[in-house]
């Protein structure tokens, strides 16, 4: 049984239909000692049925430390979004529940080819960043 209503599934399907590129959701997880990993997996499982461009790649955090390090992941559950070849540098730490699911959908759409919501001026400002930068946005599941 899906977590999403049929109406929501349809809306998402329509939105995902506009994507032009594949999106890989790398899902970093482990079997033991991770209460929210299962919840994250259940949420992510909602996505591939809604678009053939979305794939979930599960990475065992304990067994595949190299891949976790490659994506800068040091805790689970965690997601990294990537295109066919490229890292989007968008990460989600924690199960994407509540409003974070909406953020995840928007990030997937962006990686899948939707145009940026940044204004041209802001795109130019962002383009001028010339040193590595991290942005951590803290949210809660309400």
């Amino acid at each position: 049984m899906s977590l999403l209503s049929p109406a929501d599934q349809d809306k998402l399907r329509t939105a995902f239909d506009e994507m032009t590129s594949p999106v890989r959701v790398l899902f970093f997880t482990q079997t033991l000692d991770c209460e929210t990993c299962l919840q994250a997996r259940q949420i992510l499982d909602e996505l591939p049925p809604l678009s053939d461009k979305i794939t979930i790649e599960e990475v065992n955090f304990v067994l595949d430390k190299e891949k976790a390090a490659q994506y800068g992941i040091d805790r689970v559950p965690a997601l990294a979004l990537a295109g066919a070849e490229s890292d989007s540098r968008i990460r989600f730490l924690g199960a994407p529940s509540g409003y974070e699911f909406i953020s995840l959908v928007q990030a997937v759409l962006l990686v899948g080819g939707r145009s940026t919501s940044l204004t041209p001026e802001n795109l130019a400002r962002v383009a001028s960043v010339d040193k590595p930068m991290t942005m951590k946005v803290f949210t809660t599941p309400t």
Partner: protein, 59 residues
């Protein structure tokens, strides 16, 4: 922003799942954005203001 510049990585962090991170960054209300460990943006801001604050030089 992360998608637009390869030097930028963005993390959406669920604070209740990772209380150690919430403590480290003194998160008492959300949303809270921490840029490069030093710049803090509380709440949701209009895009222009958010980008401006995120890109300000370190204090």
């Amino acid at each position: 922003m992360a998608f637009a510049n390869p030097l930028i990585t963005a993390y959406a962090v669920e604070a209740t799942e990772f209380p150690d991170l919430a403590r480290r960054y003194h998160v008492s209300g959300v949303p809270k954005t921490v840029v490069n460990e030093t710049i803090e943006i509380l709440g949701g801001l209009p895009q222009d203001l958010f980008v401006e604050q995120a890109l300000q030089p370190p204090a």
